[in-house]
């Protein structure tokens, strides 16, 4: 069981590392936001699963396990709303990537 918990932790950290590298190296706001989703979904979920398993099998505490599950659920529910509003707000505030985008249909439909 210990090994399973460790595997989940390592997978979570791998995706968190990937997301962090993405946040540092991506060229513009929207791409950075895409990379940050990596941390908030699989990175967080795997670590939450590890926490649930630890609480259930080592602490024998059902309440703690369920609270971790609720934390995971809350992050999954609130994260898309937050990133959607941030991306939309940034676009509406006039932030555009330096590198030309492949297509920009939002700009085409709302800017003229």
């Amino acid at each position: 069981m210990r090994i399973v918990i460790d595997i989940f932790l390592v997978i979570g950290l791998y995706f968190a590392l990937a997301g962090t590298i993405g946040i540092i190296k991506m060229p513009d706001v929207f791409s950075r936001m895409q990379a940050s989703t990596c941390v908030a979904t699989l990175g967080m979920l795997c670590i939450a699963i590890a926490g649930i398993l630890y609480a259930a099998f080592y602490m024998h505490n059902a309440g703690a396990a369920i609270k971790i599950a609720v934390i995971g659920l809350m992050v999954m529910v609130t994260n898309p709303i937050g990133s959607h509003v941030l991306a939309r707000g940034a676009y509406k505030a006039g932030i555009r990537p330096e590198q030309k985008m492949e297509v920009d249909e939002l700009g085409r439909d709302f800017d003229e």
Binding site: P27, S31, C38, L42, K67, P80
Partner: protein
Amino acid sequence: MQKTKFPAVVATFLVCYAFWVLLTWSFKAQELAVGAGVSFLVALFAARFFIHEDAGWLFNPARFLKCIGYWLVIFPGELIKANLNMAKICFGGCTNINPGIVKVPTAMKSDYGLAAVSNSITLTPGTITMETAEDENGQNYLYVHWIDVKETDPEKAGEAIKGTMEKALKEVWQ
């Protein structure tokens, strides 16, 4: 902001009460009663900020099971695929990206369906829903920021972004 309607209050009440029970995790009669009272008050005041549609699908077992199945089986599969893709891009130095905003049509009509599809799209790394729009025929469109644009044709792009997710969600919500 809309007027408070009864179905919205019921839906908000159920969500609040579920969270109360999960967070306290005690089944004494008085705690459950206090939770019900507080949830009802919160629902009464907060319901107008949320989706205004009949939450009757919660009580339809087939649709409810399909909804659970979506969030436990189909969606995690898509999530893992997209996450591996994103990790590859990030460890590859973030140079081979090709960002753009595409407009994709969606078959969803109801608010629940639209919310589920756009949140699923935002949760998968690589795509963020930025805006929704409706044309005069009642067809809904989503504006999606895509890190690696492969298709610019709306139909094909929609298929690539949300094909499997939307097919599964259409069985739950219209």
